[in-house]
């Protein structure tokens, strides 16, 4: 199944928004974390500045998110990872409230309680977790509910190749295969789990080969390409919606920035990241779209400008929003 014109344009603009959002965060994240704004003697203070704590950016991994979410409705569930922004944006989580949550502001999705790894948007059925492998069981559960309620919605669990070695992967896939649940398990293989390369963590070369052990089809998407992802995800999602059960997809993707911001990446060869950018999926998609007459210079400029404005507006909204009252910290343990 090929993407139609609207879908191509949506994927292109969404990838631009994601890329811009992530790359601007690189600089914003560093505000207040470097001398002279920090404690003496430190080179970096992870707790400083307007966006404190950990930050895991997905620049380069856009195709996995847009190629999948192009097929999804609001009522479909997506459970993401500790590197969630591209999934959230592609799923339709409002950009301003997402940004405000990263800044810990009262206008954020969780009024500042969750932060970057704990993005919850029930309206768009999006959630994520900071714990590796934690996405698969809840996605399986959403799919279980859909099946019981007779709805044709699907659930997507995103996880990294590192998390495929966690016990939850095996248990969730077995359940989905056993009960034939409408779940699509999508493994983002960016080849690094912090400092550990896949070759040193996984006993086999492709996680797609593990699918057979759990009674479901396994698919390998070999390129970090939005259209390839669109096709593979489209088939799997249609299978799930039609009652055909789960699928496991492993997709090769590229992580341009470190595992987390501030990561000196001493474990990764310095040239690797810049080499990866030569296969940037965004200009690749633009070229594909131009070749079939869906994109020209004027439209490209309009889309690029609009994407940039959306990101600018979101960041400024976040900056100008107030912080929550400290006493709110005690609220909503229970409802």
């Amino acid at each position: 199944m090929d993407p139609n014109q609207d879908q191509l344009l949506w994927m292109y603009e969404t990838m631009l928004v994601i890329r811009d959002f992530e790359e601007r965060m690189v600089d914003v994240y560093l505000e207040g974390k470097l001398p002279p704004a920090i404690q003496h003697g430190l080179a970096f203070d992870i707790g400083g500045g307007p966006v404190p704590g950990e930050m895991h950016l997905a620049a380069g991994q856009e195709p996995v998110a847009v190629g999948t979410c192009a097929h999804l409705r609001d009522e479909d569930t997506v459970v993401g990872t500790h590197r969630p922004h591209h999934f959230a944006i592609a799923k339709g989580v409002p950009l301003d409230k997402l940004a405000a949550e990263l800044f810990g502001k009262a206008t954020g999705l969780s009024r500042g309680k969750g932060g970057h790894m704990h993005i919850f948007d029930p309206e768009h059925n999006f959630s994520c977790s900071g714990i590796e492998g934690a996405s698969m069981p809840p996605a399986t559960g959403a799919a279980l509910a859909y099946k019981k309620l007779g709805r044709d919605a699907v659930a997507i669990a995103f996880f990294g190749e590192g998390a495929a070695n966690q016990g939850t992967f095996h248990e969730a896939l077995n359940l989905a295969g056993l009960w034939q649940l409408p779940t699509v398990f999508i493994c983002e293989d960016n080849r690094w789990a912090i400092s550990v390369p896949k070759s040193k963590s996984t006993a086999i070369a492709s996680n797609a080969d593990r699918a057979a052990a759990y009674g479901m089809p396994g698919v390998e998407v070999e390129h970090n390409d939005a259209v390839e992802m669109f096709e593979a995800a489209g088939e799997a999602i249609a299978r799930a919606r039609g009652g055909g059960g789960p699928t496991l997809i492993e997709v090769q993707t590229d992580r341009y920035l470190g595992h987390f911001q501030g990561d000196a990446e001493v474990y990764r060869p310095k040239e690797e990241a810049s080499e990866l950018r030569q296969n940037d999926p965004i200009p690749k998609l633009a070229a594909q779209m131009r070749s079939v007459g869906v994109l020209d210079d004027a439209l490209d400029e309009e889309i690029t400008r609009r994407a940039a404005q959306r990101v600018t507006d979101a960041y400024q909204f976040a900056r100008e929003s107030p912080l929550p009252d400290p006493a709110e910290a005690l609220e909503h343990v229970f409802v």
Binding site: A37, P50, E320, L323, D325, A327
Partner: protein, 311 residues
Amino acid sequence: MIDITAPAEPFADAGEGVEGLLETWLVGEDDRVLAGQPVADAIVVKTSFQISTPCDGTLAEIVVRQGDTFASGAVLARLEPGEGAPGGGAAPSARSEPQRLPLTGIRGAVAREMTLAWQQPRVAIGVDVDMSAAVGLLEERDLSPTHAVLRAVALTLREHPRLNGVLGDDAVELAREVNVGLAVSLDEGVIVPVIRGADEKSLSELAAEARELAAAARDGSLPGAAVRDGTFTVSTLGATGIDWFTPVLNTPQIAILGVGRLTERVIARDGVAVVAPAMTLTLVFDHRAVDGQPAALFLAALRDRLARCEL
């Protein structure tokens, strides 16, 4: 031109050479600002604080940009002092682009305050007041129904102290003075100047002061201190033809009274339908600070005082 400089206090515990970070400018260059208005969010290591303007004026130049660092005492911006209409809202225009009112300046301050106020457990109770007895007096002395309400509120609060005060972090703080704020609509935003010791002022004195404060609020000459120390707020939309509304609490005050329009209504009197001047009063209170019963007693007493013209 006045320099807005970085205060020294947030740097007190920081080491030598440690600088602050300017996180967000809440206003832009050429925006009008009021004295005491927060114009930027900043942080020194882990201590957040706001930069405020020393006087009314226009923000002429931003020196330290968003995301940059600054030392204690550094010049952050320059302010051109002066008077003029407050608020940063854009005038309606014939442009085809959609209008955008940034949440900066007064709009931003109102947005922030409203966000906070909306979190309270608020309860609204309403009464209709038969103003037949009072309208004669109002006409004679050229007073508005709001003036009568101000007077009635001030006197009734004296007898119902549970509604007169604020909710603090760990206590309800009932005030000795009755300082009633009157909400004044501006082109952009709302401001609440306070009449201090309202229970000790006569109806005429209250009316005169209310008029002065409203005029000062509208032309931007209200001193910053005029909006402080309120213990209760009165808000009216009567002039715009609204029958009743539930105003937002003026945090951290315990209660606020919304006044609807004075208009002719059909009411029952001694079993007969008659036409009389009436208006609806809506009391919104913070249920953490006071319960329904005392609030209801206050509102009923207020109604009775107005209905009997005991002003």
